[in-house]
């Protein structure tokens, strides 16, 4: 594992940087003046107690929320406002805290849906499912099958997602995000509600994605064991403020972090 073998992927330049970002909903300050960066090829964890602003942060990166102050720089391009589909075209994919799949559709179709942005043949051919559309579909299906193989979900290929247990739905959601071939993958609590075995499987997949596809990953997770094992660097938020940033070991020793999690004696 990572803890012993060191980073699997050469961690390179800054892929995305968050610069002095603030976000508030009315009087509630979700994120205030936060800056950090995500480097190419790393696994970056965002942690913090409940209500620390982790999901808001992810939504800002994803372009779903627009920060009132500060800016996001992705692949060198700065933007104050980014819309989710811009993010998707730009190579950012995500999974959600509460599984957000098309429940009536099969696993295969759900993952195929992740390829939509990559389909280029026009509406007419797609309607006929012939010619260039067919060729394209075969090509995309090949990529999707690779993902199905990668995530070891062959046996549920044709099962409607709604009939699957929660742990598998999470895996399918990861599959759909992977289908976009993202440069940056945002995972919002990928292990929430899983048992130990499922967590171990999921951790293995996250590491494999990072290693095999070279995908940069930013994840929010509550399970500290998982975070410390998986991530290269950790940023800690508390009440919307960044209180620590560094390697798992540094963060673990940080007094501010310990106080935030365990409380301070008054």
């Amino acid at each position: 594992m990572r803890a012993t073998g060191g980073p699997d992927v050469a961690v390179g330049d800054v892929l995305l940087s968050v610069e002095n970002v603030s976000l508030s909903f009315g009087g509630v300050k979700a994120v205030s003046d936060v800056s950090f960066d995500i480097r190419k090829g790393e696994i970056r964890a965002i942690i913090g107690p409940n209500g620390a602003g982790k999901t808001s942060m992810l939504n800002i990166i994803n372009g779903f929320y627009h920060p009132q102050k500060g800016r996001i720089r992705f692949k060198g391009q700065a933007r104050a406002r980014m819309r989710p589909h811009d993010a998707a075209y730009g190579g950012i994919a995500r999974t959600f805290q509460n599984v957000a799949l098309f429940r009536g559709m099969t696993v295969l179709d759900n993952i195929m849906a992740g390829r939509t942005l990559k389909m280029h043949s026009n509406f007419f051919w797609q309607l006929l499912r012939y010619g260039p559309a067919m060729r394209e579909e075969v090509e995309h299906r090949h990529r999707v099958e690779e993902i199905i193989d990668f995530l070891k979900i062959q046996e549920i290929r044709r099962v409607p997602v709604g009939r699957l247990p929660y742990g598998l739905q999470k895996r399918v959601e990861l599959g759909r995000a992977l289908a976009m071939e993202p440069e940056l993958l945002l995972l919002d609590e990928p292990m929430a509600g899983m048992n130990l075995e499922e967590k171990e499987d999921m951790s293995r997949f996250v590491l494999d994605v990072n290693d095999h596809y070279g995908t940069t990953i930013a994840l929010i997770e509550h399970d500290m064991g998982v975070v410390m094992d998986l991530s290269d660097r950790v940023v800690v938020l508390d009440h919307g403020i960044k209180i620590a940033d560094g390697t798992p070991d540094e963060v673990k020793r940080n007094q501010a972090v310990i106080d935030a999690y365990l409380g301070v004696a008054h």
Binding site: G5, D8, R141, H142, E145, E146, I148, D149, F150, K152, Q154, E155, R157, R158, R204, L207, D208, D211, H212
Partner: protein, 656 residues
């Protein structure tokens, strides 16, 4: 008789060459990859295996040494077996789900320097016990994922080995060398070492030779008329004798196609897509399949349910007779034909049995109900009895002579005898040449005149001449009058009734046989609901007079079937009782794998056992129980005992 042996192929590599020559363009192996079935013909297979063999040789694998094969049913692992054999080395397949220590034991005992493994999981497992395996030099692996950053000084992808061999083979000298190597192997050379699963002590390495394996396989291929047009799905463990025999050996001998499932979990749907013509399933798998069908039928619409049950009923009456080629009324045939269109055909299609010509089950006692269900819908399901030491087959049921409670007559060229203690002993063409590095154990199971002791007790049924296996020899006891008493045989007969969940038969060194029964709460509970039997607890239901009446009928039925065999007639059940609590692994009464622990039960229920034999009508018992949370309590009850009248020994009729 066997054309294959006559063709001069006394080793598996030579068979592979023969197949490439004779069936060159026919499929040898299929594997579903990325959702699409990939096919390799016999000549392509030979091509790959030759390259792989040269590659292994260049890595240092030598004639006569052992090579471990660890993983599931994948073409590259089957090719590994072939390539190792082609070099004259000996493959040692190991169960993919073996825990690291078991794996370490086998690898160390077999002294392997090389291992061909499936994926990262197996590599990790072997690396974790590296210290115990100082002789292990190199692993080759099939699935590359996750292994990229591992230290490759002792690791190679199988693909690279094959590529390397292929490049080297371009040199005619290398090709000639390989031909020489293949020719140099003799039929008497060991072809494989199969480690037994080790349910009785540590596992032993069963050494089989080329010519014996091929001879045995040739016999059964002829017996079941398997040809190069047949297809089998390899979904049972690669390291198990069944897979090695049924798929690998029979496949090479007959030239049929072996299909590998996409993943272990997709076997069911792959079965349906492939539509095999030769099929093997252990009884438990058949039971699971049937349960799934029945549960799904309960969710079906009313009309569908009615049609289903009506025709399944018709199949139950006539299906087996039709399959056995007996005479049945024309109307019955007509009814069956309609049922075939409406129910049996579609059902078999869903289960993947549409094209199955020969199906076998073995491993444990199969319930007569279950067995006849599959036969009644037209699946030619048969039983076989075998062991790793025999290279599988000892007996098998021939078409048209199928009885649920026998395992059939001896296979062609197999000689069976029953020893004085009731033990089945055999001599067969495929029998093993010894346990690897263990002459004492070999001597223990071989008789001086060359028979193998199976450790199973059995007898030949008088009416049919078929073998019946009753129990492990060491468990078989004797009544005081000398009658043989096989507890498991009697218990199994009882447990085939859905109302009986568990049974414990007593009788060793006693005057007669008695049983203690556990009711099945689900089955008896639903019966109670339908018959307005009111009960407040398990204990109350178990002691209900009507429940006793119902189970008395079951016991009487078992007695009747025991009475049909002269050997067993004396072991009829004279008295029985229904236990007031379920036998529970938490209380140590049964093992976690649900095997009855006789000694412990005898101690714990001593007052009941005394009562069973002293003629009392009821007995008091108080037992300690452990609750799920670990607290202890005690249950006391007064348990009634019923007497049974023995069934007449002369009773005739078909065995249940």
């Amino acid at each position: 008789m066997a054309p294959n042996v006559a063709a001069g192929a006394e080793t598996f590599p030579k068979l592979l060459i023969r197949n490439a020559n004779v069936y060159g363009a026919r499929p040898a192996m299929r594997h579903k990859d990325l959702g699409i079935w990939q096919t390799w013909t016999w000549s392509q297979t030979l091509d790959v295996v030759r390259a792989y063999t040269v590659g292994l040789h260049r890595l240092g694998v030598k004639r006569g040494e052992t090579v471990a094969i660890v993983g599931g049913n994948r073409p590259k692992l089957y090719w590994s077996v072939m390539a190792v054999q082609m070099l004259g080395a000996i493959p040692v397949p190991v169960y993919a789900d073996a825990v690291a220590d078991e794996l370490a034991y086998v690898l160390a005992h077999a002294e392997v320097r090389f291992a061909a493994v499936e994926d990262q999981e197996q590599v990790d497992k072997i690396l974790s016990v590296k210290k115990q395996l100082p002789q292990l030099e190199l692993m080759v692996y099939d699935e590359k994922r996750g292994l990229r950053d591992y230290d490759h000084s002792r690791l190679r992808p199988i693909d690279d080995v094959i590529d390397d061999g292929r490049k080297a083979l371009a040199d005619p000298a290398v090709a000639a060398w390989l031909d020489n190597e293949i020719a140099a192997s003799k039929g008497s050379d060991p072809s494989i070492i199969l480690y037994t699963s080790g349910t009785t002590g540590t596992s032993k390495g069963v050494v089989l030779t080329n010519e014996r394996s091929i001879r045995a396989a040739a016999d059964t291929v002829a017996f079941d008329k398997l040809t190069e047009k047949d297809v089998a799905l390899a979904y049972l463990p690669l390291a198990w004798v069944g897979d090695h025999y049924l798929n690998y050996a029979q496949g090479l001998v007959s030239g049929f196609c072996t299909a590998c499932p996409e993943s272990p979990d997709t076997a069911m749907s792959d079965l349906r897509e492939i539509g095999p013509s030769f099929y093997f399933a252990p009884p438990r798998t058949l039971e699971q399949l049937l349960t799934r069908v029945m549960i799904r039928m309960e969710d079906a619409g009313l009309v569908k349910q009615k049609v289903f049950h009506y025709f399944i009923g018709a199949a139950r009456r006539y299906g087996e007779c039709i399959l056995n080629g007996e005479s049945v009324p024309l109307t019955a045939r007509l009814l069956y034909a309609i049922g075939n269109v409406l129910v049996y055909g579609p059902l078999k299609n869903v289960l993947g049995f549409s094209r199955v010509r020969v199906a076998y089950t073995a491993g444990e006692a199969v319930g007569p109900e279950l067995f006849s269900f599959y036969r009644s819908i037209g699946l030619n399901l048969k039983q076989l009895y075998g062991q790793t030491e025999a290279f599988l087959y000892v007996t098998a049921q021939p078409d048209g002579e199928i009885y649920a409670d026998t395992v059939g007559p001896a296979c062609p060229n197999v000689d069976i005898r029953i020893a004085d203690n009731g033990e089945v002993q055999f001599k067969s063409p495929g029998m093993f040449s010894g346990y690897f590095k263990d002459e004492t154990k070999t001597a223990e199971v071989m008789t001086p005149d060359g028979y193998v002791k199976t450790g199973d007790a059995g007898f030949f049924d008088e009416k049919t001449g078929h073998l019946k296996i009753i129990d492990r020899t060491k468990d078989v006891g004797k009544l005081n009058d000398g009658t043989m008493f096989p507890p498991k045989y009697i218990e199994n007969k009882l447990k085939f009734f859905p109302n009986i969940r568990e049974a414990v038969a007593l009788g060793d060194k006693r005057d007669f046989v008695t049983v203690m029964l556990n009711i099945d709460l689900a089955a008896v509970g639903s019966w109670a609901e339908r018959n307005n039997v009111v009960y407040g607890s398990y204990q109350e239901l178990a002691g209900h007079p009507l429940v006793y009446d119902m189970l008395e009928k079951h016991v009487a039925e078992v007695n009747r079937s025991l009475a049909e065999d002269k050997v067993m007639a004396g072991a009829q059940i004279k008295r029985f009782l229904i236990l007031h609590k379920e036998l529970d692994p938490d209380d140590g009464e049964i093992t976690r794998t649900l095997k009855v622990r006789r000694g412990f039960i005898a101690e714990r229920y001593a007052p009941l056992i005394t009562a069973l034999y002293d003629g009392s009508k009821e007995a008091d018992i108080s037992t300690q129980v452990t609750f799920e949370d670990g607290r202890k309590g005690s249950i006391s009850a007064r348990v009634k005992i019923r007497d049974m009248k023995p069934a007449a020994t002369s009773a005739m009729g078909k065995a249940a």
